[in-house]
């Protein structure tokens, strides 16, 4: 081996990647940059809006300070309504998500058709945002918390159902076979063999979703589906920024508290 060959085989400077890997990596970078430029370019963004953006933002914050603290008295009711919408919507989810998860899991669904139906419900429920569900349910139930509760439920079924269906597909099949071997009916197999195995997942997911739902229910009022969002939207439309800042602080508070409660409960369950 000549000195050159030796130097090539055992380089003195350590490199993580071979030239080929580096080339492929740069090809990826180039692709990503291309996609970024294409998507930003075709959106036809008016860049000159950035020129006075800092002034607009500064103006907005100046109008928000000081917060109009006395407004807390007016928003206590809507805040409680927001929490109710999230909680009751989640309660409906508990009742509806489990049967749908059972027919959407491969190992518990009766036949291919029910499996397809189950999967379709889960995908449809998850694809449509809570606020869009809000539009639908306001048209059905009229404005108010009822529409909010159902929109929260409609969106959460997909979330909870998907995670529970995945948990059902991963259960220990031995327990199910043991129960089947005793001559249990299908329902008994479900109740004793399947559901106890996924109960911790069900409760964990529900509590987790509840805390997301608190966040979602703060904006349901924008489409008229009840809660603090109605007051927030009207204050924004009236440019009452002193009131808006109070509501933002209140929302920040309840979301933080609900996140803390949800994390504590989940730690106890699992």
């Amino acid at each position: 081996m000549t000195v050159d060959e030796h130097a090539q085989k055992y380089p003195e400077v350590w490199k993580r990647f071979t030239p080929r890997q580096t080339l492929i990596r740069y090809a990826w970078y180039l692709g990503v940059v291309f996609v970024a430029i294409w998507s930003l370019d075709t959106l036809e963004i008016p860049w000159f809006y950035f020129l006075d953006a800092h002034e607009e933002a500064g103006d907005l914050f100046a109008r928000m300070i000081p917060p109009y603290w006395a407004f807390f008295g007016d928003i206590a009711g809507p805040l409680i309504e927001t929490i109710h919408i999230a909680t009751l919507g989640t309660a409906i989810t508990v009742l509806l998500a489990l049967p749908i998860a059972i027919i959407a899991a491969r190992n518990t669904t009766p036949n291919a058709f029910t499996w397809f139906i189950g999967r379709f419900i889960l995908v449809a429920s998850r694809s449509v945002n809570t606020v869009v569900w809000g539009l639908v349910f306001v048209a059905i139930f009229g404005p108010g918390p009822m529409a909010g509760i159902w929109s929260i439920a409609a969106r959460s079924i997909g979330f909870v159902g998907k995670l529970v269906a995945e948990a059902i597909e991963e259960i220990d099949q031995g327990m199910v076979e043991a129960i089947e071997a005793t001559g249990a009916s299908r329902l008994q197999v479900l109740l004793i063999g399947v559901i106890p195995q996924v109960l911790p997942v069900i409760f964990g997911t529900i509590v987790y979703r509840w805390d997301i739902n608190i966040r979602e229910s703060t904006v349901l009022g924008f489409v008229g589906a009840g809660g603090i969002g109605i007051v927030l939207y009207s204050s924004i439309n009236q440019f009452a920024w002193h009131e808006v800042s109070v509501m933002l602080i209140a929302i920040f508070g309840i979301v933080l508290v609900s996140e803390f409660v949800s994390a504590t409960v989940r730690n106890h369950i699992t």
Binding site: N129, V132, L135, V136, P196
Partner: protein
């Protein structure tokens, strides 16, 4: 002492006081919240007579929705493309901005004051729903996709940043110490100790966020921040329910494809 002859499945909550306490609390909660004007402030203001008329209204709405009207597909296509581009651009920018934010919020890398600022930013951006953030961006940057992109950037940044921060905190400290022991500077430590451990999950989370952004891009339009959501909100307010159903079906397909793509990429990354 007699031996039990029938088997009962063990209860989820072993303590009977806690179990019955929780059940009675739930029942009490349902009664107090759902019966109108039972408890001031706590009871929801639900118009049950109006809600009862919901079912026939839903049937009527369904009748007007079916068959979906795809004749204005040009408008639909424009909205869908705008949503996808918004999601792409926002995911990329969010991915980039998440790195400094995630590093600042990792306790084992940065000093306490920086950590607190990083965590505070994560908490604030995560608490507020996309729609609330969108309203502010619409106020600052005017109607259109720019406000939508910026909203999704903020949301992606805080989502990926939080995951990144938590991953860095849970990282085994061995490599970090080994690289530090070679006398590496802080940027080199990031590059050789942190980055190789984080990269696969960071990419996985970012791809997940891309498909989440496609879902969220449908909702920021409701407050005028561009995309298919704006078309949907307009069709709902004009009671164009057959066009709304066409949009909803398109969104469901789009989200389904996005999810499929994201699962495929994440499977390849593993």
């Amino acid at each position: 002492m007699s031996t039990p002859t029938t088997w009962r499945p063990p209860k989820l909550i072993a303590n009977p006081f806690l179990r019955y306490g929780l059940i009675s609390f739930a029942v009490l909660y349902l009664i107090c919240s759902l019966v109108p004007n039972l408890v001031p402030y706590v009871s929801l203001d639900i118009d049950w007579a109006r809600a009862g008329r919901g079912l026939p209204r839903a049937a009527d709405m369904l009748k007007r929705m079916v068959p979906p009207d795809f004749s204005r597909w040009e408008l639909l296509q424009k909205g869908v493309f705008e949503s996808v581009r918004m999601a792409l651009a926002a995911s990329l920018l969010g991915m980039i901005l998440a790195i400094p934010l995630g590093l600042c919020a990792a306790r084992n890398l940065v000093p306490m004051p920086v950590y607190l600022v990083g965590r505070a930013m994560l908490a604030i951006t995560r608490t507020f729903h996309e729609v609330i953030i969108a309203i502010f961006f619409v106020k600052i940057f005017g109607f259109g996709p720019l406000a939508g992109v910026l909203t999704l950037v903020v949301a992606s940044m805080s989502f990926i940043g939080k995951m990144l921060a938590e991953d860095i905190e849970n990282m085994p400290p061995g490599q970090l110490e080994a690289i530090r022991a070679t006398g590496a500077s802080f940027p080199k430590m990031l590059l050789y100790a942190v980055q190789p451990q984080m990269l696969p999950r960071y990419l996985g989370v970012s791809i997940y966020r891309l498909d989440a952004n496609i879902r969220h891009s449908t909702v920021v339009g409701i407050v005028g921040a561009g995309g298919i959501g704006q078309v949907l909100a307009a069709s709902f307010s004009r009671y164009d329910y057959d066009f709304s159903l066409a949009i909803l079906l398109t969104i469901i397909t789009l989200v389904f494809l996005g999810e499929f793509f994201s699962n495929w990429v994440r499977g390849r990354l593993r």
